[in-house]
Amino acid sequence: MAQLNMAKALNLALREALKEDDKVILIGQDIGQDEGVFRITEGLLREFGPDRVVDFPVAESAIVGLAIGLCFTGFRPVCEMQFSGFGYHAFHQIENHLSRFRNRTRGRFTCPAVVRMPYGGGIRAIEHHSESREAIWAHLPGLKVVIPSGPRNARALLRASILDPDPVIFYEPKASYRAFKEEVPDEPETMDIGKAQVVREGSDVTIISYGATMRPVLEAVDELREEHRIDPEIVDLLSLVPLDTETIIRSIRKTGRCVIAHEAPRNCGPAAEIIARIVEDALMYLEAPIRRVTGYDVVMPYFNLERPYLPDARKVVTAACEVARY
């Protein structure tokens, strides 16, 4: 096994997909010759050539539009939006076409495409480069929304997304690209899309999160246990669509208390959907109201204010204590 960071793990998944299936094709800006602004596509042009790794002009809607057409001729395109904030140029293609073709043509034409987007703040970038808008994509029927949290699950989930017969929005937490390393098996592995992972079992409160926010959540565990005698159960969603309601409900029935943490803004954010499902299926197991630890309902601020914006271990501890002591 190798110790890889997420960037290298994603690179590995792309390399494996390109090698195994001639029909896999990467399309994005600066992904070939410049090897990607985050170097996720490092070395791929050299290894697979310009027919497989396509440097595209600054035209996101065309990237996705082209991908849709390629799907109809048997390709499996993996598109890259250089930053999730640029993805809205492709919104029309994604919402009105990519997500609908299977339905529209009753299954005659399908779109086995992946649209990769680096998301989230924490790297002190300029405007439009730090968004978390997964809720928007999750709301569109016909799409899967997958959000890895670490190198190993990133590689497995990207592989699974490419193999998936339907369109997947693959939201990559850019702040986690090089933040830490993990053992990643040499042999290709996949994970089922739509299965959450109970990262830590506990009995007092369920803390649900995904993506880059998993790190502050896990940092909060020690303080919760040692200083507050609270034993948290931690759930990593790994995908918003499909959402693993069963795992969530099982955990809530066990603990009766819940904190949900995400970087995306609070209003109509993913936590709201999760709470709705908990209220639908496990209301009578709740011992306390549910608390959300989220970004604020403002645009990600610049540089020095980025830190207070983002959910951190301190905020998670506070919310968990409040809920545990209700």
């Binding site: 005698r229 639908e280 299926d281 009578m284 306390a288 630890v293 919310a319 409040e322 002591r325």
Partner: protein, 459 residues
């Protein structure tokens, strides 16, 4: 508006306490930090200082009451001040967390006895508590809440149900069927709701069937039907012991291995050295030797100094050796813990042992002094006994019991001689330790007691 004095978090995961002394009355004037009551928690006694100065406008507890963390004990009106109504909660949310304030900060203290008039609106209780009430057939409107803001807690419902199963006809509970909404098709296993929840209560009543939620004891018969009886409230410490013993017994498969150690030579040494010790202000007891021998044994058999994490499938080895020593006190069994026994000499151990035992008997032990043990020793020998099956102090994995030290005829080299024999009986957790290791451990302890110099060889 008066300030509420809420029972603060007493630490160590303790949720409730019993009031053993109340030093003030309603109407008294108190100063800040004045001691106003004494409560008995999980094996220790704590005095509570009131955080506010002023006149006690409401006193909600009396001696004998069981109170919960977060419960309003009394209210203080500061002279001429408009105090805020905010409840004195443990660490509040950061300014940065956009959380809504908990509902608990609009309150009047819950009245002492009958249930409050909840009016036509909903009764304050969390959904899980509502479910429990429904399963037990308890009408929430009849229950007084002891939680923040008069909220009804689990314990309130459980206590109400236990009390009402003895009473003469309990109030009929309105059928719940009308209020039940059809559960959505997507819901997994819907919570079972009885069609009617009227509880038929007569003098020799059978209480409602046990709920799905894990609840306490099964129903007892009405003993009064066979003769006179008398009920006595047990002290908090007894309730704690009951809970912990039941838990240890149900979680741990106990096996006990018994043997004897020949302590004749040790006793000679002890009596000789006793005089030296007395000069250093310590009494050299056999227990101190036992502790040292056990510490030596634990170094060689670290699995006896561990805890078992069933869920993770892991054995947690501890690098420290803190020994609990069971002490019989007038109020019940207490187990103060001596720390780092492997690093202390006999004099220190003897001294500390005496201090802890005295404090245990005077009921002055801190809760902290009874936590963190890795292994326990219990000595009933003074009262007698050849063998017993001591209960393991979960989450430890073993406990050593000592019987009565007595002279016995033993065979040595084909001859009968009189030796001083000390019975040892070790209960251990058979999930973690097999019989062979149990025997080896006891043999090692016995060897140390028979040849104390062997202890010098332990690293």
């Amino acid at each position: 508006m008066a300030k509420q004095f809420i029972l603060p978090d007493l630490g160590e995961g303790i949720h409730e306490a019993q009031v053993v002394n109340v030093m003030i009355r309603e109407g008294d004037t108190v100063t800040q930090d004045q001691m106003v009551m004494e409560v008995e928690t999980d094996k220790a006694s704590v005095e509570l200082p009131v955080p506010y100065a002023g006149r006690v406008s409401k006193l909600n507890v009396k001696v004998g009451d069981t109170i919960s963390v977060g419960q309003v004990l009394l209210e203080v009106e500061a002279a001429g001040e408009m105090a805020t109504a905010a409840a004195d909660q443990p660490p509040g949310p950061d300014a940065g967390v956009p959380a809504t304030a908990p509902a608990a900060d609009t309150t009047a203290a819950a009245p002492a006895e009958p249930p409050p008039d909840y009016g036509p609106g909903p009764v304050p209780a969390a959904p899980a508590v509502r479910r429990l009430a429904r399963e037990l057939g308890v009408d929430l409107r009849q229950v007084r809440g002891s939680g923040p803001g008069g909220r009804i807690l689990r314990e309130d419902v459980e206590r109400f149900q236990a009390a009402s199963s003895k009473r003469e006809p309990a109030p009929a509970i309105p059928p719940v069927a009308a209020a039940v909404r059809p559960t959505p098709a997507t819901a997994p296993a819907p919570v079972p709701v009885p069609a009617t929840t009227t509880v038929p209560v007569t003098k020799a009543a059978t209480p409602p069937p046990p709920p799905a939620a894990a609840l306490a004891a099964e129903a007892l018969p009405d003993f009064a039907q066979w003769g006179p009886i008398r009920r006595e409230k047990v002290p908090q410490i007894r309730k704690t012991i009951a809970r912990q013993m039941a838990r240890a017994w149900s979680i741990i498969p106990h096996v006990t291995h018994g043997d004897e150690a020949d302590v004749t030579d040790l006793e000679i040494f002890r009596k000789e050295q006793g005089k030296v010790f007395a000069e250093q202000g310590a009494k050299l007891t056999l227990t101190a030797f036992i502790l040292k021998a056990v510490a030596g044994g634990l170094r060689q058999f670290p699995q006896f100094n561990a805890s078992y994490d069933d869920a993770a499938g892991e054995l947690i080895y501890k690098d420290y050796i803190h020994l609990g020593v069971a002490v019989d006190t007038p109020r019940g069994l207490m187990v103060p813990v001596l720390r780092e026994v492997d690093r202390k000499g006999l004099v220190t151990i003897s001294r500390e042992l005496k201090v802890l035992a005295d404090r245990a008997r005077e009921f002055k032990l801190d809760v902290a002094e009874m936590r963190g043990g890795t292994f326990t020793i219990t000595n009933v020998g003074a009262l007698g006994g050849q063998f017993a099956t001591p209960m393991i102090n979960w989450p430890e994995v073993a406990i050593l019991g000592l019987g009565k030290l007595a002279e016995k005829p033993m065979v040595r080299n084909g001859e009968i001689v009189v030796r001083k024999m000390l019975p040892l009986f070790l209960s251990f957790d058979h999930r973690v330790i097999d019989g062979a290791d149990g025997a080896r451990f006891v043999n090692t302890i016995a060897t140390f007691l028979e040849n104390p110099l062997n202890l010098l060889l332990v690293s």
